[in-house]
């Protein structure tokens, strides 16, 4: 164009110059001096006119051409705009992130998805491929590069890959990247355009399903999935069983799938449970049942199973899932246990009855003996030998009576686990106990220290409490040291909602190293005393425990014994 313009201009200058020289010659040869002025004017006028027409022709031609070019450009521009819009719409609709990589120049641009999906601001997005590669998870990047470059070198036909791509917040998203190549006239790859699809949700779902599948495959519970459809003659058809089911029944999945669950039925299968199953299926509800079934080798076993209805997205029942377990052993144990409990209960009942009868039969003649002795007491006997005999007879009878009474008490405590409690005054209880032992206290004259003001009222059983304290006090009096004055200290403390009773003496003590385990046992005697029955501490412990309390002992031989009793105050 430029050259053409110079050409036209040069031709114009040449023609105009030649014409000017030629007309000057004509003027000077053919026109007179006075006519030359008019001729020059006419000549110039003609020249201007010719030049004007020539200009007009050239300019109008140019204008037309420019207009055509402009229109063409405008069209192209519109097309590009439209194409860009489409591209935006497509990338929005697919939620894919589009990238465009000029391979030789290593220039890369990303669509808006890089912000929407991955959170990158415009100024954070790099313009070369290294930014892309840099954001690929280290564990995925090598594998991805190998595949990508073998595609660019056109060793492979298609390229798509899955990898983890880093977001602006440093978390990773699983992406599916698909691309195609643009080649130059020599077939060399010059440009690559790709679409990055966020598949994190699908991937997570896939991993979750894989995990669930592992659970189903690995679990010890048998899992059976059946169809939802069912007719009244046959239970639903099996469509899946896990390995545990094969383990349990002996049926391989392929030999049982498409069969009805009826295959597990046998002669002892409970018909009422089958009816229940049908009812559950009809009502489309969940169920937990037990039934006798048969393995492939016809061995009978107890099956405990749940039935869970499964609904599809249209809320229609699509399947039943059943989780099953062989509970034969459990059932057998249960049966044995039931039998054992039955026997034990009967034994216990018999023993209780026996002990009441024995007790009654012992107490009846005992009461007669006591009654008779009471009568003898009022008769004066002169014979000293007879007197001595009766005295011994009386002592033995009283000891025997006490033993029987103590044993009876223990029996009643053991039989009645719940006892009545009331608010009792500790002071009153102690007064009662002291008055019962007044004779002995009078003779022994112990130093008694009572510090029970901290606890005035105790929620307890009065008879038990008196019996406990009477036993402990009797023990202190009985097992006192002859070398020193007996000293008994009794302290009551309230600690939050527990009451602590400390009962301390300076008696002969008990060798706890030797007797630790049997201290509160039945018929345990730690001292060779004639009237020791080996019942007292057993009774005390039984009564303390019947009131949900505890008892502890500390003792040192020839120094003394301390009992600590604790009770809940309410």
């Amino acid at each position: 164009m430029k050259n053409k313009t110079t050409q036209i201009t040069t031709i114009y200058i040449l023609i105009a110059s030649i014409l000017a020289v030629f007309l000057y010659k004509i003027t000077s040869l053919y026109f007179k001096q006075e006519d030359q002025l008019i001729f020059n004017l006419f000549k110039d006028f003609i020249l201007i006119l010719l030049t004007g027409f020539a200009f007009r022709y050239i300019l109008s031609k140019n204008e037309r051409r420019n207009k055509t070019i402009f229109e063409r450009l405008e069209n192209t521009n519109n097309e590009i705009k439209e194409s860009n819009q489409k591209y935006d719409i497509v990338s929005k609709a697919t939620s894919d992130t589009i990238w465009d990589w000029k391979i030789q120049e290593d220039k890369m641009i990303w669509s808006k998805g890089i912000k929407a999906v991955f959170g990158y601001e415009e100024d954070q997005v790099g313009d070369s491929s290294s930014w892309w590669f840099g954001n690929i998870h280290p564990e995925d990047s090598i594998k991805m590069s190998i595949k990508l470059y073998s595609f660019i070198e056109q060793k492979t036909e298609k390229w798509q890959d899955e990898y983890r791509f880093k977001c602006a917040d440093n978390t990773y998203k699983y992406v599916l990247d698909r691309g195609f190549l643009l080649k130059d006239e020599n077939g060399k790859a010059v440009r690559m355009i790709g679409a990055l699809q966020d598949v994190t949700k699908q991937k997570e779902e896939e991993l979750r399903l894989k995990l669930l599948e592992t659970v189903i495959l690995q679990t010890k519970e048998s899992i059976v999935i059946t169809e939802a459809t069912f007719n009244k003659k046959l239970l639903p058809k099996i469509i899946y069983t896990n390995p545990a089911f094969t383990q349990m029944t002996g049926y391989q999945a392929n030999e049982i799938i498409n069969n009805s669950l009826d295959i597990l039925k046998g002669p002892n299968t409970e018909l009422n449970v089958i009816k229940k199953i049908i009812q559950i299926i009809q009502n489309k509800e969940e169920g937990l049942l037990e039934i006798r079934c048969y393995k492939k080798d016809k061995t009978e076993f107890w099956l405990r199973f749940t039935m869970i209805p499964i609904y599809n997205s249209e809320n229609e029942l699509s399947h039943w899932v059943s989780i099953q377990r062989d509970v034969t052993e459990e059932k057998n144990q249960e049966k044995e246990k039931e039998q054992l409990i039955k026997e034990l209960t009967q034994n216990n009942k018999d023993l209780k009855q026996f002990s009441y009868i024995t007790s009654h039969n012992l107490r009846a003649p005992m009461s007669n003996l006591t009654g008779l002795l009471n009568l003898i007491e009022d008769i004066e006997i002169d014979d000293p030998e007879l007197n001595e005999i009766i005295n011994g007879f009386s002592k033995s009878t009283h000891l025997l009576n006490e033993t029987i009474e103590d044993l009876t008490k223990v029996m009643i405590i053991k039989d009645n686990t719940s006892i009545e409690k009331e608010d009792i005054s500790l002071k009153e209880v102690f007064e009662n106990v002291f008055s019962q032992l007044s004779n002995q206290i009078e003779i022994i004259k112990p130093y008694l220290k009572l510090d029970i003001e901290n606890v005035s009222v105790l929620n307890s059983n009065k008879a038990y409490m008196e019996s406990i304290l009477l036993n402990l006090l009797t023990n202190s009096l009985k097992y006192r040291s002859t070398d020193r004055t007996l000293k008994i200290t009794i302290i009551a403390n309230q600690n939050g909602n527990t009451v602590e009773l400390i009962f301390k003496d300076n008696g002969i003590g008990i060798d706890l190293k030797r007797n630790k385990d049997k201290i509160f046992g039945l018929y345990q005697r730690f001292h060779d005393y004639p009237d020791s029955k080996g019942l007292g501490l057993y009774l005390v412990k039984s009564q303390v425990e019947a009131m949900k309390g505890t008892i502890n002992i500390e003792s040192q031989v020839n120094k003394g014994t301390t009992f600590t009793l604790t009770f809940k105050s309410k």
């Binding site: 009441y356 007790s359 009654h360 039969n361 107490r363 009846a364 005992m366 009461s367 007669n368 006591t370 009654g371 008779l372 009471n374 009568l375 009022d378 009876t408 029996m411 009643i412 039989d415 009645n416």
Partner: protein, 134 residues
Amino acid sequence: MLDLILCVDDDPITLMLCKKVISKASFSNTIITAKNGEEALEYFDSIINKGATKELPQLIFLDLNMPVMDGWEFLDNFNTDKYSEVNSTKIVVLSSTIDPEDHEKSKKYPMVIDFLSKPITSNMLTYLESKLQL
């Protein structure tokens, strides 16, 4: 002092003790005895037949464990309409039982005023005297 007491027990020693302790404590003028529930009921039958309500005991000491007819069976019979004329007589159960259920069971009979453990003693009689407001 009561006029007439009936002691029902199969054990002759118990009956002997009852007699001695009661008379010693001057608790009652007359003491009659029965070997079991059946004998006791027969005694009440004869009173009803004769219409001799004067011979009605004011108190019965009743054992529970007896052959032929035990204390419970006696109470069941005595508590029926047949003996409505005479069953205002107060009864003290005197037994060697330790079964707490027996104690509870005895409370169901309106004529049973107490449940005492053998042997009978003078203290027991003093206690009963005050209870009966003699």
